[in-house]
Amino acid sequence: MLTLSVNGRDLSLDVDPDTPLLWVLRDELRLTGTKFGCGMAQCGACTVMLDGLPTRSCVTPVGSATGARVTTIEGMRGREIEAVQAAWAAIDVPQCGWCQSGQVMSATALLRETPRPSDADIDRAMSGNLCRCATYLRIRQAIHAAARTLEG
């Protein structure tokens, strides 16, 4: 058995330690907000927080996450994610929507570190998150909007 802390809950799981965290979250825990896109950390659709840092769960063996706090989009709380999700809806960022959980996670992590990001900061933080619908302009716009909200 393997122990894992997910969204504030300590869990015991009977899974192989080489199983990617992504598939444990989805297949075992049914936390399906985290998406599969590539399986090799190229697209960012599977982004979760590991001890608060954005991490690609598709290349993270669950065995390596046993001591860490895993937070998925379902477990995110706080001003930053609320501001990000509100901006995402207000600006109608999503098209197909598949990559957007990962985009929201990366954007939230950025705003926690950098409350007033420049366009260059946004490019750096979001470059690992592919969007095939190319909603990039609205992602940038929404991050700026969320930053303004957080500034009050």
Binding site: D16, T19, P20, W23, R26, D27, E28, R30, T32, G33, T34, K35, F36, G37, C38, G39, M40, Q42, C43, A45, T72, I73, E74, V84, Q85, W88, A89, A90, D92, V93, P94, Q95, C96, G97, W98, C99, Q100, S101, V104, I122, D123, M126, S127, N129, L130, C131, R132, C133, A134, T135, Y136, L137, R138, I139, R140
Partner: protein
């Protein structure tokens, strides 16, 4: 859910609901026998809680039909946007056909265009029935009742929401041809009502196929042949079956299927398979060899359009010639192909982002030996498609049905293609070769134009072959044979080539290459004739091409066009009509070294009535980003053994956020019927980039992607 009767009641969680069933006649049905009686369509459910749920007959894969079709209904119902919900229609050709196709399906940027009158009629009928019910209850004449923002009211002071009369309205006569609003009275159409799916897609709760888990469900991945056209010679599953979680392995027509209790076990099991492949009939040519064969095939190209003097080019003072090469392209939607199927007691139920229910449903039924009525397809959000899920041969529906059948027992199965399966799985935009010639007279006027095209046919060999005429597949050359320009005598010809590599429509289909070939070659010809790219095009546009002219003039105006270069930047223009919409784009590029850095794009579109301008803008932005990915990086290539050389996003590169240009969109005001927006943003972008790059560097672009150009 029995909804085939003209009207009926449903007991839903919120109380009684009205399911409005409307007779709607299709004026444009293709392929169906004439004289059929009107078919009922079920589109609207009014809840006791005042919610109005619009049943959406088109797949929501990002382009906004949930919001767009619901807007049309809400407008004519005089509903308030806050009470509107949307849900997907299941597969049912009789109820939910695309009026442009005659059968159920999403594609060709037709969702709004074919629904514009139909959905408004549905809304108007629902409104009339609610008014009739209120009038009967209040003892007043229906004409005295006002409906505004979802509230029915009477001068006497009586007022109620829709939910109050939902049940009674269901008993009212269904108006056969309810009058529609004068567009001057539109409240919602033409405004930016917020998308109905944004919030759920921003918080991870939107349900996609992969998110569905059924009791006892097994996850399945399939080992496909390493070369197109190869088949299984022999296989050994001993090691695969030792992988913890793998339940069974079966051969199906498309490969070897591994069934497991979770996704990772299925993937590991597949890796442990030992398979010998028979490759005698496989495609073994390299991409370069395929282009050589296309070049030869051009000699025998069949004329698809000819006008003017056949020998016009022979008499030209100057002859220009160019060849353009376009590679195979994968659609690469972020959600790879997936589906859930559950077979129980002689019935099958499926859940997935089904784009062509009319094709998929009978294929599933036939594969499983069931009647079509015994197959239900529940349509879920699709994480992108761009054409990939619109399969004329229904190959994915067939594969999931074979997976269920080969299991040899009832149960639920989720079939998933990994990213490698997606990139290497074929169904590409056809690799295409264009060879163009143009003749100029002594004054620099274009006197003749010839365009020969070689590629595979998308429709041949599929259920859509019936749409081909005389062996010609218009999707192979569309956009080359309906030029708006006066270029003298014209000769357009197409050569069909064949390959075991399956091909498919890719966002804007033939226009992905025809617009490039035409607009890039024309740019070179205009330069040779000493013409400005914008003014030169305008001079060639005939008086009947008013909408072409309007978008070109608009984009030149708001991009402040001043010629091909300015302060170290290159500018390029391109114009294309596709899916009924006219789009002109101007692109600004900087020299990023071996590749252009695209900094800004100006885009003018005329798509008729703009139902939701913000969604149109989003589609132009998205189409531009999608097209720029392809222009810069997109290529699927085969090595000398028929192996695809790309496999994931590291080798099939997509545009990233730092490469996305600023996009400025102008939507021309129009009272014409709405036309497409999902695809038309794509065709002008590639040629405009190439033209801007040539303006800046002097280097002509004769093949895509730009990243493969010799340095």
């Amino acid at each position: 859910m029995p909804i085939l009767s003209r009207r009926n009641f449903l007991s839903a969680g919120a109380g009684f609901t009205l399911l409005l069933v409307l007779p709607v006649r299709s004026g444009r049905t293709q392929g169906g026998p004439p004289g059929l009686p009107a078919t009922p369509n079920a589109f609207i459910r009014v809840g006791a809680d005042d919610t109005v749920t619009v049943i959406i007959k088109h797949l929501e894969m990002g382009q906004g039909p949930y919001t767009g079709l619901a807007t049309l209904v809400a407008e004519e119902m005089d509903a308030d946007w806050s009470q509107i919900r949307a849900e997907a229609a299941h597969a049912d050709d009789a109820l939910y056909r695309n009026l442009a196709f005659g059968v159920q399906g999403t594609g060709g940027s037709t969702a709004i265009a074919n629904s514009y009158i139909q959905m408004r009629k549905a809304g108007a009928a629902a409104r009339a029935m609610l008014v009739a019910a209120a009038a009967a209850d209040w003892g007043v004449h229906p004409s005295e009742i006002t409906v505004r923002a979802g509230r029915l009211s009477h001068p006497s002071g009586r007022e109620a929401g829709f939910g109050t009369f939902a049940a009674a309205a269901a008993g009212m006569e269904v108006p056969q041809d309810p009058p529609l609003k004068d567009p001057a009275d539109f409240v919602l159409i033409g405004t930016n009502v917020p998308r109905l799916d944004s919030a759920a897609k921003a918080n991870g709760t939107a349900e996609f196929t992969l998110d569905l888990y059924r009791e006892g469900m097994l996850t399945v991945v399939v080992a496909h042949p390493p070369a197109f056209g190869a088949t299984v010679a022999s296989w050994d599953d001993a090691a695969a079956l030792k992988v913890r979680g793998v339940e069974m392995v079966r051969q199906i027509p498309s490969g070897i299927a591994v069934y497991a209790r979770n996704t990772f076990a299925a993937i590991k099991g597949r890796e442990a398979l030992q398979i010998q492949w028979e490759e005698a009939k496989a495609e073994r040519r390299s991409t370069a060899e395929m282009f050589e064969d296309m070049s030869e095939a051009l000699e025998g190209a069949r004329v698809v359009e000819q006008s003017g003097e056949a020998d016009a080019l022979d008499g030209a003072a100057e002859l220009l010639e160019a060849e353009y090469r376009f590679p195979y392209l994968a659609h690469a939607p972020m959600e790879p192909l997936d589906a859930v199927i559950e077979v129980t007691d002689g019935r099958a139920q499926l859940w997935y982002g089904c784009q062509f229910p009319a094709i998929d449903r009978p294929i599933v039924a036939q594969t499983l030996g069931l009647a079509t009525d015994a197959v239900r397809i529940n349509v879920l959000f699709a994480g992108g498609s761009f054409g990939r899920r619109a399969q004329g041969d229904g190959h994915f529906a067939a594969e999931v049905a074979h997976v269920a059948q080969a299991a040899g027992r009832d149960g639920a199965f989720k079939l998933l293609w990994t990213r490698e399966d997606d990139i290497r799985g074929g169904y590409y935009r056809p690799a295409t070769l264009h060879r163009l010639r143009a003749g100029l007279d002594a004054e620099g006027r274009i006197v003749g134009w010839e365009n020969r095209i070689a590629n595979q046919s998308i429709m041949a060999g599929t259920a859509l072959e019936a749409f081909m005429q005389n062996g010609l597949d218009p999707s192979s050359y569309e956009g080359s044979n309906d030029l708006p320009y006066a270029v003298g005598a014209r000769r357009i010809a197409w050569a069909r080539v064949d390959s075991p590599v399956p091909v498919l429509w890719w966002r804007s289909v033939g226009h992905t290459h025809t617009a490039f070939a035409v607009e890039v070659f024309l740019d070179e010809v205009l330069e040779r004739a000493g013409k400005d790219p914008v003014r030169g095009r305008l001079e060639l546009l005939g008086p009947e091409a008013t909408r072409h002219r309007a978008v070109l003039e608009k984009v030149a105006e708001f991009a402040d066009w001043k010629g091909r270069t300015r302060e170290g930047r290159g500018y390029g223009v391109a114009l294309a009509k596709s899916f009924g919409s006219h789009v002109a784009q101007i692109v600004e590029v900087e020299n990023g070294g071996s590749l252009p850095r695209v900094t800004q794009v100006w885009c003018a579109i005329d798509c008729g009535v703009a139902v939701n301008p913000d969604i149109i803008r989003a589609q132009m932005e998205g189409g531009i980003g999608y097209a720029l990915s392809a222009a810069l990086y997109g290529a699927i290539t085969l090595d000398g053994t028929g192996r695809v050389q790309q496999s994931n996003f590291d080798s099939y590169r997509l545009l990233r956020i730092e490469e996305m240009p600023q996009v400025h969109v102008a939507i021309l005001p129009s009272a014409e019927p709405p036309t497409g927006v999902g695809e038309p943003g794509v065709p002008p972008l590639g040629p405009a980039v190439a033209n801007a790059w040539r303006a800046l560097t002097g280097r002509p672009v004769r093949q895509l992607p730009l990243a493969q150009l010799p340095a």
